[in-house]
Symmetry: C2
Subunit: 189 residues, 2 copies
Amino acid sequence: VGHRRDDVVERAIAVLDQYGLADLTMRRLGSELGVRPSALYHHFDNKQTLLAAVADELLARRVRRTVAGGWRQRAEEICGSLRDALLSYRDAAELVATVHAFGLGGHAPYAELVDALAASGLRPAETRTAARTLLHFVFGHTGEEQTHLQAASAGAIDDEPRETSDFDLGLALVLDGIRVRVEAGSSHG
Amino acid sequence: VGHRRDDVVERAIAVLDQYGLADLTMRRLGSELGVRPSALYHHFDNKQTLLAAVADELLARRVRRTVAGGWRQRAEEICGSLRDALLSYRDAAELVATVHAFGLGGHAPYAELVDALAASGLRPAETRTAARTLLHFVFGHTGEEQTHLQAASAGAIDDEPRETSDFDLGLALVLDGIRVRVEAGSSHG
DNA sequence: ACCTGAACACCGTTCAAGT
DNA sequence: ACCTGAACACCGTTCAAGT
């Protein structure tokens, strides 16, 4: 029919959101586009590359807020908008975490966090570790949260009263730990 | 030949360690045991259950140290021994994190962390969040670490000088955040 | 209690060839 | 530039039947 790379990514997102990551196969996506699976290899080297492109597009769709304040407020906004984005599409947390772990994409939030934390006065090595720790928290927490939300929505009504501020609590924990290090550095810097 | 459930799990661990998670298939494991893949379904309902049993066995093999001290020292020991265990077998971090995310097994470290943190005086909800946050850090950090270690060992010699204490730094970050909350609670408790 | 044989309904990927 | 047709080498799972 004549699809472009972006058409494929967009359709892949639709398949992901409707049927889940397990059903986002090259064959399924091909038939969804009215095309043989082999045609997809004209646009992508392999499935991993396609998934990376999907992850990057999901992250590009994040709703960012401009925020006044220091490194902590900026980090909170980055982590919060990341979580919102991941919760917006089925299995998105697992997808983005996987792509990120394989080093194929999804690096925007990491770069943003490093940038935000640079204003804290932490040393570069500490800044990178802090950024990665925040990301591990967001991916881990949101992945768990998404699994529970999807399990609750599909079938069982054992919708246990999950603390709505659970994410904020865990995030504050990590940010407080970073703050301690920031203050330790500036006191004898 | 007459295998028992434990034989299957042990052989699965050997296959995992030698060939990786992607090659730990029911067919591969069957042929490794000299048995048809369908025979494995006598011992396990499905592959997920088998993987959960493998994860639990890996975690049971952790080398624990008895440690004197408060909640922080105990939490450090749990997280450290968990990391060591995950780095002891190929792809173990990814396997255990997946099994844990699906809620099928690997719950021992979480229970231990909740137990250790109970001595801190945090409220139950905070204790659970703190324990989960520590786990997300260990799984995320160790998974990344393992990916890099395995990538470096297979082929490329671009063995960038990874900070040996990077894990300790990130862990201290989270533990400091927990400490802040502990102290905030006891001051006006 | 443990296993076989055979099938079902799938995968990702390659590649020559077509338009 | 984009796609087909056909193949290769796999998957997890089920189930009647065997010992």
